[in-house]
């Protein structure tokens, strides 16, 4: 009901705005029309950079380069042969380029595609880098693109640039483009795929464990963002009608970055508001650079003052309101209306996990030395040992975060040694982390839904047009229902719409388990589930773990320091000390084992501690 109402309101707003744009050429002078055009173009650029950076978390400073590509491709396609002939003065234009021509709309699409293609070329090598390094590498690429444009005069007319580009970017064109980009972006971000993008930003490690190939996701988001950059650049070129390489310096990227920071990183609404504010402000501030006459007093314009004021405003925003105007929130019609709320049975295999002589070395240091163990179906197995025994290392090897130096790991009869975490997850294994790794900025429900992404069949590009590919809507609805079901079973349903990071500690631990269960694992690894719990809470946890095993037909391996939990809940226990497997057996056997007691208490260290 609410959705229908919101849809109707949206359509009314769009129709009203379209009507306004239709009348705009009569109502507004050239100056305001230009500002409106720039707002739309900047919004496209901001949305695309926000997709790369705000949503998916890749710090890219290369947008100006992709804008340049788009602007040049489009300009070269729409300029007439006669214009080209007269413009290439220093060197001759390539003959094949002289007669290439395309209608404006086609040129826009080609501009976007070429920029996306270059984006893909850049993404494949550099997205392996993270953080600031990625920013610098992308900045480098943008500069290289600019230098290439300057130096390939036969293709681009070099530093002279291109002049007399037809002013095809009308209000109708720029705002239609923005409308399409906005619709696709919103649809994609609302689908479960959008959740996956944010998950990659919030915690890449945890996303991998949800079966997500994070590298592929990043390449997709980056390439899509570059398409937007190319499109924006093309529209810009056809608005200003003159382009040259100096237009696309790093300053251009900073402008777009400013818009998304002012609006709020990761918020689509913020990008739109930011575009309106920053564009209007930048144009309005031009008055300080023009001479002003008040009565008989002449104040000469001060060149550079505009950017001085502007940069001061930016610094103030970042110091006093660093989350921007919208933070990560989005606009919703709901703010105008007051508020009024599965399990899988796998076939039984005897041995679920089998490790044989697994070794893990970091340089000369041996984290795990010759670990062999077998875990049978339906067992709850404990992995214990003093600090630094290699328990978490063992988890990381089993779940694919580390590649074993030698030895074999078999899971459900297949070798998984050396597979990546997402592949391990797809094979039917899931885990939690010692230091809880939730996608903190997303809701509880979204966290769990990301776990079901690996079972969804629709491709990422379908999310751009969910009305055409209705599978997206159908499968997301199923995922939502299953996630709600899981939350219900784990007693988290009341929190479904809360932000994950706002949950109390114990609930966060349960949510991490719910998220792991959403991938429908056969085998669950729990890394210190009782850490930080009081005795009563760990009591409940023990019951909870047994219930999990029964209800979800799981095999569970857990690391735990709380001996009471381990001894009570586990069917079988393995003990590690300094990377060496020193004992295994039932809880009673382990309690009576002198080597275990030594490892923990340190008595007779010469005998107990393996070198």
């Amino acid at each position: 009901m609410r959705n229908v109402r919101n849809l109707i309101l949206t359509i009314i707003a769009v129709v009203l705005f379209a009507f306004f744009l239709d009348k705009a050429p009569e109502l507004l002078n050239g100056y305001w029309q230009r500002i409106l055009n720039l707002i739309a173009i900047n919004a496209i650029l901001a949305l695309s950079l926000n997709l790369i950076y705000g949503i998916t978390g890749m710090f890219s400073l290369g947008h100006a380069g992709f804008m340049a590509i788009g602007a040049y491709v489009s300009a070269l396609l729409v300029l007439s042969p006669a214009q080209k002939n007269s413009m290439w003065i220093l060197e001759d234009i390539y003959p094949w380029l002289l007669n290439v021509n395309a209608p404006f709309i086609v040129s826009l699409i080609i501009a976007g595609l070429v920029a996306a293609f270059f984006g893909l070329l850049v993404a494949l090598p550099v997205l392996r880098l993270g953080g600031d390094y990625l920013g610098i590498a992308t900045l480098g690429f943008a500069e290289i693109i600019r230098i290439l444009i300057t130096n390939t005069a036969r293709l681009t007319n070099g530093s002279l640039g291109l002049k007399g580009i037809p002013a095809y970017t009308t209000l109708f064109m720029s705002w239609s483009c923005l409308g399409i980009v906005l619709l696709c972006t919103v649809c994609m971000l609302r689908s479960n795929f959008g959740g996956v993008l944010r998950a990659v930003r919030d915690d890449e490690v945890a996303a991998k464990m949800m079966g997500i190939n994070t590298f592929k996701i990043k390449v997709i988001a980056f390439t899509l963002g570059c398409f937007g950059g190319g499109l924006g650049g093309a529209l810009m070129g056809n608005l200003i009608t003159t382009i040259d390489p100096r237009m696309f310096m790093i300053t251009q990227t900073y402008n777009v970055l400013m818009i998304i920071v002012v609006g709020g990183l990761g918020s689509v609404t913020g990008s739109l508001i930011g575009s309106v504010l920053v564009t209007t402000m930048l144009e309005w501030l031009r008055f300080v650079e023009n001479p002003i006459t008040i009565g008989s007093i002449n104040i000469p314009g001060i060149p550079g003052m505009r950017m001085v004021i502007f940069s001061l405003l930016l610094i103030m925003v970042i110091i006093f309101r660093r989350e921007g105007i919208m933070g990560m929130r989005e606009f919703s019609w709901n703010i105008f209306f007051p508020k009024k709320k599965i399990t899988d049975v796998g076939s039984k295999t005897e041995t679920v996990l089998e490790l044989e002589n697994v070794k893990l070395k970091f340089g000369g240091l041996s984290a795990i030395d010759n670990l062999s163990m077998k875990i049978k179906h339906w067992e709850i197995v404990g992995l214990i040992g003093p600090n630094g025994a290699g328990k978490t290392s063992a988890f990381n090897v089993i779940s694919g975060f580390y590649k074993p130096t030698s030895g074999t790991i078999k899971f459900l009869g297949k070798s998984i040694g050396g597979l990546s975490p997402d592949e391990v997850c797809k094979a039917g294994m899931s885990r939690t982390f010692q230091n809880i790794r939730l996608f903190g900025n997303q809701t509880v429900l979204q966290n769990v839904m990301i776990g079901s992404r690996i079972r969804q069949k629709y491709s990422w590009w379908m999310t751009l047009l969910p009305f055409v590919f209705t599978d997206v809507i159908k499968e997301d609805a199923e995922a939502r229902a299953q996630a709600m079901n899981l939350l219900d079973q784990l007693g988290l349903d009341a929190f479904a719409d809360e932000k994950a990071s706002s949950l109390p500690y114990g609930a966060q631990r349960r949510l991490e388990i719910a998220r792991a269960l959403a991938t429908r694992p056969r085998f669950l690894l729990l890394d210190e589930p009782a850490a930080g719990m009081n005795p009563q809470e760990s009591e409940e946890l023990m019951k909870f773990i047994r219930r999990l095993r029964d209800e979800f037909d799981l095999t569970i391996l857990l690391i735990e320091h709380d001996m009471k939990v381990v001894m009570n809940v586990c069917d079988y226990i393995h003990v590690l000390d300094q990377g060496v497997h020193i004992a295994e057996g039932t809880p009673a056997e382990i309690k009576a084992n002198p080597r275990v007691v030594e490892a923990y208490l340190g008595a007779g260290a010469a005998e107990g501690g393996a070198a």
């Binding site: 550099v126 880098l129 610098i136 690429f141 490690v205 550079g304 003052m305 001085v308 940069s311 978490t392």
Partner: protein
Amino acid sequence: MELNIFVQHFINALSLGSLYGLVAVGYTMVYGILRLINFAHGDIFMLGAYFVYFATIVYKLNWGVGVVIAIILTTICGLLVDRIAYKPLREAPRISALISAIGVSFFIENFAVVVFTGMPRPVVQPPILMKPIEFSNGVRLIPLGILVPVVAFLLVGALLWLLYCTKPGLAMRAISFDIETTRMMGVSVNKIIALAFGLGSALAAVAGIMWALRYPRVEPFMGMTPGIKAFIAAVFGGIGSVPGAMIGGLILGFVEIMSVAFFPTLSGYKDAFAFLLLILILLFRPTGLLGEKLEDKI
């Protein structure tokens, strides 16, 4: 290539490289401590050159006195930038400080346009530094070409002594290792960070002054490209490592000068080499030549 031309290219590369190195050291110290790319560093470099211009040409001071005043003023500017734009953001996500840095860089550049105007200005070149010396085998050198690397190496040597042989240096290295723990050891972290900014700015001022002597002019955007290239040099050498920054700067200087010297047709692509070099090193040795390997803890 004839010997005398090669020697000139060599000296040229050495002095350009050591200038990059000198600026890179400032980037590397701040990044090592705060994990912040101080985008404004290139503009601090520009300020150094401008202060000399004002002292010598506008106020007609002696060149030597002008240089000293310029270094002091630039250092103060560096400290102010830290105090106003970065210190309030110490606890904020790193990206906030980065955006603030971009804002500061914008601000300084455009403020310079307002105050100094965008016109390039001439520079006083002390005659003693510019008079060519002729050697018997035909090699001609100007003293400036030799002075630049000598000054640069002496300054970096002094900085290394400070880092490795004094208490503030020890504190600085400790902060780059773990800022919270260092704070708990009773070190006044903010003072040490300010020290890093001050030292970096002073070195940048020296580099800016010598840069202006090489290309005898100053203009508001002169710090942009050298700044980005020096940062690349710092990444190349392994960010956080002072000797690495110097080595990275020298390599960059040699690549730029020698590639154009041997392949004059590539001169248009000169600025692209730095970025190409950067991307290659990031792909094959992401933490640079002398950088330490960082692992994400799971």
